[in-house]
């Protein structure tokens, strides 16, 4: 308990440095996430699963605004350790985590006059590891499935490449291997620059996406993107259902938003704007 508290104070301090500032009266009024509020009518007033583990992430957009190069760093590290190929064109593109414009990531939210250049801030987008994931519902082979810790994972060897999950995901989080990711371009450069032998490279014709670094979690590490920005207060990771976890504390301190909460997918990704 004591340790948790100390950690938490540290985080709060870091967060302040990163420009979140002390929680205002307004912040405490809006305490907690807006998940229950936003999805309440659709889900009959009930919030998504409160029992069991539910891993989630907080992305602090303010920290990324202060240090825009962080976003690139996250993408870089994730794509290199996960053998994500670079085909050099948007048509074949595969991406697990990427920066996009605020207006696109939060396409349905409206700010008539956006504060302080928000439109220019790089906002990270990745799989939301939804608590009620439509991609899992749509998959005809269980190649996409939800693990007991809340991670939405994939079995690349079972996927038939029907891309039903891509139509079903309302966040554009999934990519398809339109061609062989292990191949080379016309100049003989491999699409995967340096192969990480510790992680499987995919084959042609299957879908892939962020796996919340489940292979790292298994050995007690945190997701690589979160690790890459450690010490900046830009990203937090942990069990949303554990009231003592760092991420729970952050969520109860700051006003956070999810992407498209009205769709009933219950994203486990929260943004501090």
């Amino acid at each position: 308990m004591k340790k948790d508290r100390r950690d938490f104070l540290k985080i709060a301090g870091l967060a302040a440095v990163a420009g979140i500032g002390a929680p205002s009266a307004f912040g405490s009024l809006l305490r907690g996430s807006d998940e229950a509020l936003a999805a309440a009518p659709a889900a009959g007033g009930e919030e998504a699963a409160k029992s069991g583990k539910r891993l989630g992430m907080v992305i602090n957009v303010r920290a990324f605004a202060a240090q825009p190069e962080l976003a690139e760093k996250c993408t870089e590290v994730c794509h290199s350790i996960h053998n994500v190929p670079d085909f050099g064109n948007p048509k074949d593109e595969i991406k697990w985590i990427w920066k996009d414009k605020y207006n696109n990531v939060f396409a349905d939210s409206s700010h008539y006059k956006r504060p302080g250049g928000l439109a220019e801030v790089p906002v990270l987008a990745l799989c939301n590891h939804c608590d009620k994931p439509p991609c899992v519902r749509a998959c005809p082979t269980k190649a996409t499935f939800k693990k007991s810790d809340g991670v939405v994972a994939m079995d690349y060897h079972r996927c038939i490449g029907c891309r039903f999950c891509m139509a079903a995901c309302p966040y554009g989080a999934r990519s398809f291997n339109w061609r062989d990711p292990r191949g080379k371009d016309e100049n003989g450069n491999p699409f995967i620059k340096t192969l990480n032998p510790k992680f499987p490279a995919r084959m042609r014709g299957v879908v892939e996406k962020c796996n919340f670094c489940t292979e790292r979690l298994a050995v007690g590490q945190i997701p690589a993107c979160v690790e890459a920005v450690a010490g900046t207060g830009a990203m937090f990771f942990g069990d949303l259902n554990d009231p003592n976890s760092e991420i729970s504390q952050i969520l109860s301190l700051y006003y956070t938003v999810q992407r498209k909460p009205s769709l009933g997918t219950y994203p486990s990704l929260f943004y501090i704007i």
């Binding site: 005809p140 082979t141 291997n177």
Partner: protein, 389 residues
């Protein structure tokens, strides 16, 4: 009975060889796709389904459309359709075969297709679609063949066949309903997220299926001694005409909901399809000419089909059926599936253009369908003419 397909006129053989040539050409393109991957098509991260899946969607309708011949005859004992119900059943066979081929062509890992059965997943609509499509294929093969064989032997088909035929009636509705559920249950795809998607599919199916059948039947009237019969033709005109009218009524309903509610997500795709969507200073409108042509052809077709009935003109009838069929093909076989991906989930726009190999494979699958259809119709017509003479 099958030997009837092995004798035929010069025209018959020329037609079959023509189809085989297209199939061979498509096979070559498919080999390319097999070696390179689906990247050889025009599909992208944003538009993840292209003409393969949209043809599949449309052809499920053609398959279900046979119901409009089977139902009046077997349920309401409408004798005039006696000569053509078999055509409806055989068209369903050809159409479902094309559907299955289009799905296979679209899979990234076709060799793993059986995973759908090895790991049955009842929460996935694709799993159910596979069950209903294969079931429908089975029902039509068994019923169609049994009925025709009985006629060939000059006996009445056995009573279990009748039971299966009755089962095939709700089954035809199910294939198009489940296919609509593939689309209309996805959160965030506003264009598809409409409760009248299944009714829309059925309305267009009940127009497009019989329209194609009538065109083929009219061609056979010219080339063989087979006659559909004026009464049956008039009845089909009523069915096609009203189904097409209901289809356009549903489309109008979609427009009302989208534009009166003024909800952007509900308007974007309609704007993209019919006027062009402006985004970041660029207007995206590659489907606009097609969609507008679809509406014009549909309306002209509906008007003409009723004129053709009062004038008793076969030429006009064929022309109007072709117009209605093309109109619905554009509507369901292009706009519905492709439009659903514009704009994408981050409100960006990527347009889709099919590639040459993709069009080649598509043409080859259509050719396979017509090949099967011609074979089956040849057998059916020969048996019928033999019995009648």
């Amino acid at each position: 009975m099958i030997e009837k397909a092995l004798t035929g006129s010069k025209g018959y053989w020329a037609w079959m060889i023509f189809l085989l040539a297209i199939m061979g050409m498509g096979g070559m393109f498919y080999t390319q796709q097999w070696n390179y991957g689906l990247g050889i098509t025009g599909m992208s991260r944003d538009v993840t389904w292209g003409i393969y899946i949209s043809q599949f969607t449309f052809l499920v309708g053609v398959a279900a459309g046979g119901l409009m011949l089977v139902l009046p005859y077997y349920l309401h004992n409408y004798k005039e359709f006696g000569r053509i119900t078999i055509l409806g059943e055989f068209m369903a066979i050809a159409a479902v075969i094309m559907c299955l081929m289009f799905i296979l062509a679209d899979l990234g890992q076709p060799i793993r297709a059986l995973n759908v059965m090895l790991y049955p997943t009842p929460n996935s609509m694709l799993f159910w679609d596979m069950i209903v499509l294969n079931g429908y294929l089975f029902l039509n093969v068994v019923c169609g063949w049994a009925v025709l064989h009985a006629e060939y032997k000059g006996v009445k088909y056995s009573s279990w066949v009748k039971k299966l035929i009755l089962l095939s009636i709700p089954w035809a509705v199910s294939i198009h309903t489940v296919t609509a559920f593939l689309y209309c249950g996805l959160p965030g795809r506003h264009f598809w997220l409409t409760a009248i998607l299944a009714p829309r599919f059925l309305a267009s199916a009940f127009a497009a299926g019989p329209a194609l059948l009538l065109v083929v039947a009219l061609i056979m009237e010219r080339t063989t001694f087979f006659k559909v019969g004026q009464v049956a033709k008039d009845k089909l005109v009523t069915i096609i005409g009203y189904a097409a009218i209901i289809n356009f009524f549903f489309l109008a309903c979609e427009f009302f909901v989208g534009f009166y509610s003024n909800i952007p997500g509900h308007m974007h795709t309609l704007e993209y399809l019919f006027w062009g969507l402006s985004h970041d200073g660029h207007v995206y409108n590659n489907l606009v000419p097609f969609m507008r042509a679809s509406v014009v052809m549909g309306i002209v077709g509906i008007a003409l089909i009723f004129v053709s009935r009062s004038k008793k003109s076969d030429g006009l009838l064929a022309a109007s059926c072709v117009l209605i069929f093309l109109s619905l093909w554009i509507d369901k076989g292009l706009g519905l599936v492709l439009g659903g991906f514009v704009p994408n989930m981050l409100e960006q726009v990527t347009e889709y253009y099919p590639t040459v190999p993709e069009i080649g494979v598509t043409a080859a699958i259509w050719a396979t369908g017509f090949f099967v259809l011609t074979l089956l119709y040849k057998v059916a017509i020969s048996v019928k003419l033999e019995k009648e003479s």
